[in-house]
Each structure stands twice: as structure tokens, then as C-alpha cells.
């Protein structure tokens, strides 16, 4: 009995430890408590510290995420149930290194481009990528009388290989996107899911260069003199990852919608079966059809 009790304790502590891991996402990385069983959140509670100093985020990026928070949760922080998507985690990264390049050309409408490096260390192994977006912020509201068409050329550069495996040619990805500019527009979102899907899981750094050219949609390429228009500068893009955190601590919307039920709501098996003398499967169908109704 000593041995079994010992085993039970070891199992319980290992389970606690694995449970504790996701909580550390709430904590600054440098305060993760690897050894202690108590989730680091409680350590912060006991220390009364607010966590280590941290880099301040880009103000426009923070403004965007606050807008997104208001869409997804109430003032008290309760997730709004009127959304059916599966992601329970959204991470916004600003490029940690961009090789300075002409910040867009006001005359020809060519937007700033350059090499961008995103450091994705905060994405954990339990977070699975569902969608990724490049987010451009428009500095000032632009005033176009007609919709604008942009062509975007995205080149993803393979991370520096360790030398063993030959680094493959960089992915080049060109696509046309049409944006309706209006007074209210402050952000442009470009979906890059298909391009980044294979990379996010395996790499912690995404290196890309983005070239943007915009013109009035019915005009020739910007070289046509009469097509020139005054394009407001855009700053460098942020990368937004929509993820599904599969850990036990994360809220799984689809689960709580379909499976979570209090015992009193689940019809009693026995009484149901007696009501359907034809057999269990008929009873089960009857029950499901009633639920579906």
C-alpha cells in the first residue's frame, strides 16, 4: 500500500505540474516556475509583484487589440457567446527587425516595404494556428473618391538553416487584393494563413519581405502619370495569429456549447429505455431527434 500510495502521489504531482504549465502563459516568461507545483499565477499573488518590466507594445497595435477585445468579450471579461469560431487565443506580434527602406512613396502610391522579422517565441506547443493576418495601420485617413486596388508581393524567407539541410528557395507569394478605402478605415488586414501555416508550427522566427503597390482600380499601373495620387504612409505591418489553445486551462467554446450539461438535464437512461421497448438504439435515436428538435 505504501508503494501504491507513493505511485498515486507521483501521478498526482505530475498531473498538477502539467496542469500548472498553461497558467504560466499568464505570467511573464522569466518568472515561470518550472519546479513548483503551484501555478506561477499564485506566486505572483503571494509576491504581490506585477511581473518583470516588459517591452511596451506599439500603441496602434494595442489600440487594435483593445477594439478586438471589445468585440469578443463583455466589460466584465465574459467571452461573448455569439461567436462560433474556435480560436480562444489571439497573438499580435510587431516586427522585431525591419531593414529601413523608403517609407513608401507618396507620389506613386507604393507602400513601405522591407524585410520583416517576427519572433514567435510566445506561441506555445499547445496553441494550434487557425488563421494569420498581416495588419497594416493607415497613418491618416485617406481620401479617395473611388476604391483602391492593391497588389501585394510577399516573400517568406526560409530561416537560417543549420547547414545540414539545404535551405530551400524562399516562398514567393503574390496576390491581388482590393481594398475599399474610406474615412473610417484605419487598418488593412491581409490573410496570409496558407503561407504561414507550415511555418508557425515549426519555426519561432518568420522572416518576410512585403511589397505593396496601390492604384485606382480602373487606372493603369502607377507609372501612368494621371494615376498618381497622394497615398498616405502606412507603417510596417503587425502579424496576428488566431490560435486554438488546447490546454485544460483554456476555454473551449465548442466543448461548452455541445457537451457540458448538468446531470439533471441528461435524461435518465433507464426510464428512457423502458419508454422505448423496441430496444436501445431506437431509444437513442428518439432521444437525439427530440434534442435536435
Amino acid at each position: 500500500s505504501q508503494a501504491s500510495r507513493r505511485e498515486a502521489q507521483i501521478a498526482a504531482s505530475s498531473e498538477l505540474e502539467s496542469e500548472a504549465e498553461p497558467w504560466s502563459l499568464l505570467q511573464p516568461a522569466d518568472r515561470r516556475d518550472k519546479s513548483g507545483l503551484l501555478p506561477p499565477l499564485f506566486k505572483v499573488l503571494s509576491d504581490g509583484q506585477g511581473g518583470a518590466p516588459r517591452l511596451q507594445p506599439d500603441s496602434r497595435a494595442l489600440q487594435y487589440m483593445k477594439k478586438l477585445y471589445k468585440e469578443y468579450a463583455t466589460k466584465e471579461g465574459i467571452p461573448k457567446s455569439n461567436r462560433s469560431h474556435l480560436y480562444n487565443t489571439i497573438r499580435l506580434f510587431t516586427p522585431c527587425a525591419q531593414h529601413k527602406q523608403a517609407l513608401g512613396d507618396q507620389v506613386t502610391g507604393i507602400l513601405p516595404s522591407g524585410n520583416l522579422l517576427f519572433n514567435l517565441d510566445r506561441v506555445t506547443t499547445v496553441e494550434h494556428l487557425l488563421k494569420s493576418v498581416l495588419l497594416y495601420t493607415i497613418n491618416n485617413s485617406v481620401s479617395f473618391s473611388s476604391p483602391v486596388k492593391c497588389v501585394c508581393n510577399l516573400v517568406i524567407k526560409e530561416p537560417k538553416s543549420s547547414g545540414k539541410t539545404l535551405s530551400r528557395a524562399p516562398h514567393s507569394f503574390t496576390f491581388n487584393s482590393q481594398f475599399e478605402f474610406g474615412k473610417k478605415h484605419k487598418w488593412i488586414e491581409i490573410d496570409v494563413t496558407t503561407l504561414l501555416q507550415p511555418l508557425v508550427a515549426s519555426n519561432k522566427k518568420i522572416h518576410m519581405s512585403v511589397n505593396f503597390t496601390c492604384m485606382r482600380h480602373h487606372l493603369q499601373p502607377p507609372l501612368a502619370q494621371d494615376g498618381l495620387f497622394n497615398m498616405t504612409l502606412l507603417v510596417f505591418p503587425s502579424l496576428i495569429l488566431y490560435l486554438n489553445d488546447t490546454s485544460a486551462q483554456a476555454y473551449h467554446r465548442w466543448y461548452s456549447l455541445h457537451y457540458k450539461r448538468s446531470p439533471s438535464q441528461v435524461p435518465d437512461q433507464k426510464s428512457n429505455l423502458s419508454a422505448y421497448p423496441v430496444g436501445e438504439e431506437a431509444a437513442r435515436d428518439g432521444r437525439f431527434s427530440r434534442h435536435r428538435r
Binding site: L25, L26, P28, A29, D30, V44, L45, G48, Q49, G50, G51, A52, R54, L55, Q56, P57, D58, A61, L62, M65, K66, L68, Y69, Y72, A73, K75, E76, G77, I78, P79, N88, T89, I90, R91, L92, F93, T94, C96, N119, D121, R122, D245, A248, Q249, A250, Y251, H252, R253, S256, S262, P263, S264
Partner: protein, 135 residues
């Protein structure tokens, strides 16, 4: 136990000092029975507002109060709770009475600033107590 039952029956049902309505009320509306209580806190009180951007206020709520003897129907307690209560009352008072604890929770969405300056929106399970029970 007939003698005790008879003597019990002879006792006045309602103590003279307590009139009938108060006597009945104490069962209908027992004082500090197990129920949900609010505790509104702001992350600035915890000095976490330098990394938790939203929500500004968080009410985790908590369960507090005495567990009445007839817990079965009111709290959806298992029969074990009734047994534990009987053990406490009749056999061994070192066995604790059933406790008033949360039975259901709701999730919470938080917006945090990570140490590397990135921003994270996360939805965490079981962050707000929504129902109490006696166990």
C-alpha cells in the same frame, strides 16, 4: 427510542419566546446559508495592470455559508453529503460538516502584454464561480 420520541413530542414545538412566523421563517430563509457572493477587484489592486490590459474589473465571486441538513434537493448534492452530515451530527463531530464550494464556473477573456512586447488575447476556463453546492 419510544420514550425519547414521546418526550420529544411533549416538548413545545415552538419555543415560547419565538412566535410561529419567525420560527417558520428560520427554515424558509435560513441565515447565512451557502450561497454565491461577489468580490469585485481591479487588476491594479493586484499590481497586475502593467500586463493585464483588460478587463479592468474582475469579479471571481465565491461561495460562503452553512450547508443546511437537507442539502439534497436544494444543492444537487450527492447522497454522500447527507451521509457525511449524519456522521458529523450523530457519530463523530471530528468529521467535518459538508463545505460550501463552487459547482459551476464561467470563463474569462484577458488581454495581456507579454514580456517581449507582443499582445495576447486569451480565454481562460473556470475563472468565475457561477453556482455553489455543498460537498
Amino acid at each position: 427510542g419510544q420514550e425519547t420520541a414521546v418526550s420529544e413530542l411533549k416538548k413545545p414545538l415552538v419555543p415560547a419566546s419565538l412566535n410561529m412566523s419567525d420560527y417558520v421563517n428560520q427554515f424558509l430563509f435560513p441565515q447565512n446559508e451557502c450561497e454565491l457572493h461577489d468580490f469585485r477587484l481591479s487588476f491594479s489592486q493586484l499590481k497586475w495592470d502593467n500586463w493585464i490590459v483588460a478587463p479592468h474589473r474582475y469579479n471571481p465571486r465565491y461561495c460562503k455559508g452553512d450547508c443546511p441538513r437537507a442539502v439534497r434537493h436544494r444543492y444537487g448534492s450527492p447522497v454522500h453529503t447527507v451521509v457525511q452530515n449524519i456522521i458529523y451530527e450523530t457519530l463523530d463531530s471530528s468529521v467535518p460538516r459538508p463545505s460550501c464550494v463552487p459547482a459551476k464556473y464561467s470563463p474569462l477573456s484577458v488581454l495581456t502584454i507579454e514580456p517581449d512586447g507582443s499582445i495576447a488575447y486569451k480565454e481562460y476556463e473556470d475563472m468565475i464561480a457561477t453556482k455553489c453546492t455543498c460537498r
